[in-house]
C-alpha cells in the first residue's frame, strides 16, 4: 500500500461498469516526509475520502478486486483508508 494525498478528482461519464457509483480521485504519491514525490495515481474511492486528505491507497489488483467483490474488476488502485497521522522515527 502507498500513502497519497487527494489533490483532485476525475469526471468520467463513459467508463467500465465497475466505475459506476464510485468516485475517481487523483492522489499525489507522498515521500517519507509527507511531501508529494511528483508521481500520482487515479484511484477508486472505497471510503469517502475528500479534498486534501492523506489516504492509504491499495495499489495491487487482487486486493482491489477483493474489496470490490468482483473477480473481473479492471482496477488496481483503490483508496482504502484515511490517515490521521504518520509518525516517522528520527534517524
Amino acid at each position: 500500500m502507498i500513502l497519497g494525498r487527494v489533490s483532485g478528482s476525475v469526471v468520467s461519464t463513459i467508463h467500465h461498469r465497475i466505475v459506476d457509483g464510485h468516485k475517481l480521485l487523483v492522489a499525489e504519491r507522498l515521500d517519507q516526509a509527507g511531501r508529494p514525490t511528483g508521481g500520482y495515481v487515479i484511484a477508486l474511492d472505497a471510503i469517502g475520502a475528500g479534498k486534501g486528505e492523506t489516504v492509504l491507497i491499495l495499489d495491487e489488483g487482487n486486493g482491489a478486486r477483493q474489496i470490490l467483490d468482483d473477480a473481473s474488476a479492471p482496477v488496481r488502485s483503490i483508496v482504502v483508508g484515511i490517515v490521521d497521522a504518520v509518525e516517522v522515527e528520527p534517524n
Partner: protein, 95 residues
C-alpha cells in the same frame, strides 16, 4: 490508473485471434496536469468509444486484460474510461 491522451489509431494487418476484434489506440501517458510523460503505448479500448484527441485513463498488466468483454485477453494496457474533466483542488487549500 493513469491519465493519457489518444494520439492515434492502430490498425493491425494481422493479430492473434484473441484480440482480433479489439480496437487498438495509440496513447501518450500524461501527468496529473495533462502534460505528456513517458513514452506512448498501444492500449486496447475497453470502452470502444475513445478516439484521437480524447483524454482517457488506462490500466496496465493483468487489470488491462480484465477490461474487455470477453475478459482475460492477451493485452497489457487498456483504456478503462474517458475523461470529461480533471478537477484539481487549488494548492492554496493547504495542499
Amino acid at each position: 490508473m493513469l491519465l493519457g491522451r489518444v494520439i492515434g489509431t492502430v490498425v493491425p494487418a494481422m493479430v492473434v485471434d484473441e484480440i482480433s476484434a479489439t480496437p487498438l489506440l495509440w496513447v501518450q501517458p500524461l501527468d496529473r496536469d495533462g502534460r505528456p510523460e513517458g513514452k506512448p503505448l498501444v492500449c486496447a479500448d475497453g470502452t470502444r468509444m475513445a478516439g484521437p484527441g480524447q483524454m482517457i485513463y488506462w490500466v496496465a498488466s493483468r487489470e488491462a486484460a480484465l477490461t474487455l468483454d470477453p475478459w482475460f485477453v492477451p493485452i497489457d494496457d487498456a483504456i478503462v474510461g474517458l475523461v470529461d474533466d480533471v478537477r484539481l483542488y487549488p494548492p492554496e487549500d493547504g495542499l
